[in-house]
Symmetry: C2
Subunit: 342 residues, 2 copies
């Protein structure tokens, strides 16, 4: 059914319209609608009726102009297409949306010029704060413009240690992954990583080594760096099996790499998880659930990271800036590729 759209050209009702209809002054109408004291219950009633009748909606611009804050924040991403920005964005949207804050979304597409353009536009709109979402966990330069509102960097930390950054705990992720494999009884663990250029890959390796050292278990073979894709997983798994036939677990740099590894293992007649356990990183639903068997993976809790960034921004708005890099814990999501029963 079509609620008829409000007639175009009809000026949207203003507070003075409401006041006039209710037979009071604008000030009284304002107080009534905003629940201030010192207004008679009956008057308040009349004002509310008038407002409803005119479907009055307070003009946030006017309010913001007066208050000096707008209840808006800017979310500046550099790579919307990338699948890591999205959950962060969702988490932030979630944390803000619950309250009275609206989010301006801007995609700089990895272009510094475009980023400055967006920052200026956002400042001109008088956002109360800014979240800058990176496209990888490698540190990024701070915003070029000097900004007089709080800024929180998410996923990619700012290179400036004076800034506040919230990042996933990649070292912890590597550690947790190995601990899970060990808990599953594996002792011949290999690591097929992703692109060595990414600090995420290197940080996870650090965690992997630390956990292995603590357990007194050596890594099987060398860490194999390559890409984040399935093809690399297939190729690397082939080489691994040739050199280290007695491997009983493969930790993969991403869920995609893990998918490739699973393919090669199946073709080589290795059973998963009986002969070889496999796990990935990112816990990307479409990758993990389509796999045979379903893929155990480390979830980087990106949505939580987004929420954390939003909360941190709130705090910075109300109080003083935080500084430095905070990490968000990740978690292992066990499935059939490491635990027979899962």
């Amino acid at each position: 059914m079509a609620r008829s759209p409000a007639p175009r050209g009809t000026r949207t009702a203003t507070l003075s319209d409401v006041a006039r209809l209710a037979g009071v002054s604008v000030a009284t109408a304002s107080k009534a609608l905003n629940g201030r004291n010192h207004v008679h219950a009956q008057t308040r009633e009349r004002v509310f009726e008038a407002a409803a009748q005119l479907s009055f909606s307070p003009n946030s611009l006017a309010r913001g102009l007066l208050a000096g804050k707008t209840g808006t924040v800017g979310l500046l991403t550099s790579d919307l297409v990338g699948r890591f920005s999205l959950p962060i964005l969702m988490g932030a949207e979630d944390a803000f949306g619950a309250g009275q804050v609206s989010v301006f979304l801007c995609d700089a597409r990895g272009d510094a010029i475009r980023e400055r353009h967006h920052v200026r536009a956002l400042l001109s709109r008088r956002v109360d704060g800014l979240i800058v979402v990176g496209s990888s966990t490698d540190p990024r330069p701070p915003l070029a413009d000097s900004v007089d509102v709080p800024v929180v960097y998410a996923y990619a930390p700012s290179e400036n240690p004076e800034d506040l950054s919230i990042v996933p705990d990649n070292v912890g992720a590597g550690r947790m992954a190995v601990e899970h494999l060990i808990a599953c009884g594996r002792t011949r663990i290999a690591h097929i990583s992703g692109d060595r250029q990414y600090s995420a890959a290197r940080d996870r390796v650090d965690g992997v080594r630390a956990a292995l050292d603590e357990a007194g278990i050596p890594l099987v073979g060398q860490v194999a760096y390559g890409t984040w894709e399935e093809g690399w997983g297939r190729a690397a798994a082939g080489m691994l099996l040739d050199r280290e036939p007695d491997v009983d677990a493969v930790l993969c740099g991403s869920d995609q790499v893990a998918r490739g590894v699973l393919d090669t293992l199946r073709e080589r007649g290795r059973r998963v998880p009986d002969d070889v356990a496999v796990m990935g990183f990112d816990n990307w639903q479409v990758m993990t659930s389509g796999a045979r068997p379903q893929l155990t993976s480390v979830d980087m809790n990106l949505e939580e990271l987004g929420r954390a960034a939003a909360r941190a921004l709130f705090e910075s708005i109300d109080a003083e800036h935080g500084k430095g890099i905070r990490t968000v814990q990740c978690r292992v999501v066990p499935r059939g590729s490491t635990a027979p029963d899962a």
Copy 2:
């Protein structure tokens, strides 16, 4: 290097600050900065210098309050996590971002209550227009509130024919897919679809049948409806091969289904594309490029759809509302799974 953040608490410069520093009135300063005529070149110069010195940034709230339009639009999605909203959002952000428009992003999470909440907030912020992005191509109820700004529905059309909706051409997609397979010399074509509940699945089937009829080629077996996932593709392919061993092409409801079909074909010893051609829908990069061979797919041009929605909204803002449902063409992206050379 850390450009020192502007000292907190320092009120951001206003036009009268600029005017004072330049030794002119606010009116003159305004004209100078906005490139109006009737202002001496030297004066203009002085004003610009003053503005730069104070890093003046005009307050969009004040401007919007005065002008009656804000240069903002609301993008209302119901399913950010879904992979179809994102490209649409990108396209829209792209089309708007090029100009002077900023985008409020809201995710209603498929909840009508939350949707109303967001609509009200956006109207209160005096957006100039609204794009409503659906999570499937099934028609959706129009916005519950009566809205006095233009609204464009994207992906999911509004149930109200008086509204303007922009949707992908699913019928055309089915048709193009079959035409591609026929062009590749296939005559024994089967269709493993997705979830029958979705109009997208049914519309594509319509296109498939139309194209087959035109070519005078019968469909091999029945249309197999199931889910959009890999597991369904594997299972359905097994049944298909049992019943119709001479099939030479399988059109799949999604790239994921196609991945499953490819797996089963390989296990059954059928070569792709030599024995059987395979193609999917959506052209989801991560699915198509990880496949062996790489997967031919129909791209629904969602980013273009987003841009089209943005453009349509522009037109509605400047002129009169459009009405009805417009479709955006899709395109086949050929890869190794249908054409040996690709």
